[in-house]
Amino acid sequence: MAKAVSGRSRTGKHLEEIDLLPIMNLFCCIIPFLLMSASFLEVVVIEMAQTEGISTSGAGATANLMRSEEDRLQPKIIITDEELFIGTVSGSAHVCYALETELNGEMIITFPWDSLTVAITEVHDILTEAYPQIEFHKITILTVEETRYDNIIQAIDIAIAAGFDQPGLQVAPTASVTSAMRGGGN
């Protein structure tokens, strides 16, 4: 058995113990305080750009679509019941098809968001490369009336992650969105 280096330990001496009770008392005070102050769900916000309304007939929506087409460089994420597109200056491109999944006994529509992540990052890179003098921040989420809110938030979240941090929302009847798509080319 190795001899103690310090020389303090001698045969027959008792071992000193650290009194842990004050530490326990301190912990018992701190832990309830921290439990009360802890926030396990953090609420954050997405700042939206100014939205534009639509009228009952959808005529307003068409006008809005036309106006948004005037802003040629601003890309759009177009969400319909069946597909998801990205609209750019050179037209709209198909990204993915909708998926139907069951949530709490209800069938809901969702999308494979990884496809959008890849596509929107690619669009941002292409735009930045082609127009280096412009900083691209704005993007429009153009969607049909029935699209679920969580799908919109997902699309916005992906757009923000790709660099488009000023999202706007446009909602239009399905017919208007479809006609805009047809006019958009490939």
Binding site: L21, F27, I31, V43, V45, I46, E47, I153
Partner: protein, 180 residues
């Protein structure tokens, strides 16, 4: 002073030593606090990580489920609109019931615009003047609301003068490995 029975072994925690004395023999039972200290330390680190000095600025209604997103912008204390598939609630007051008509027609929602204008007017009267921060509003939407309802609420906010609209979401931590 009588000694305790065998069944009641007192823990002499207050005496400065974590020792229990059993009756009869002079046998001392030591309560090991080390493992408990270890556990408390882990708990303390976890709670310190979750500690928030801001507190809960936004009260999320139990009538709605907020969507999740990875954005970082902190929520500020503003006027709250809560929207679910049954009601539109402003600052705790139910304003409009969500009906099929509401989902089929028009732009802004007149009752909502009136309520928001009243609130803005009240703010103007109490503060004297309004700055840009006073024209911001937080919208808490349930994951299941349709886009048309959200759009109508946002259009109503714009019409009432609330030009800065923030959508409240639950912060989602990014996946391990920095996956986007």
């Amino acid at each position: 002073m009588s000694m305790p029975s065998k069944r009641h072994v007192p823990l002499l925690l207050g005496s400065g030593k974590s020792v229990a004395v059993s009756h009869g023999k002079d046998k001392k039972v030591t309560l090991s606090l080390t493992s408990m200290i270890d556990m408390f330390t882990i708990l303390l680190v976890f709670l310190l990580k979750s500690y928030s000095t801001d507190g809960q600025l936004v009260t999320v209604s139990d009538q709605l489920i907020l969507p999740k997103a990875r954005v970082e912008k902190k929520v500020e204390l503003k006027l709250d609109i809560q929207v679910n598939n049954s009601f539109i609630v402003v600052d705790g007051d139910p304003i409009v019931a969500v009906t099929d008509d509401l989902l089929n027609s028009g732009n802004s929602i007149p009752e909502l615009v009136t309520r928001l204008r009243d609130h803005m007017e009240y703010s103007r009267l109490t503060r004297g003047t309004l700055n840009e921060e006073d024209t911001k509003i937080n919208i808490q939407g349930d994951v299941g609301i349709p886009a048309i309802l959200l759009q109508r609420v946002m259009a109503s906010c714009s019409e009432a003068g609330y030009v800065g609209q923030n959508l409240a979401v639950i912060k989602e931590e990014p996946a391990e490995g920095g996956e986007v």
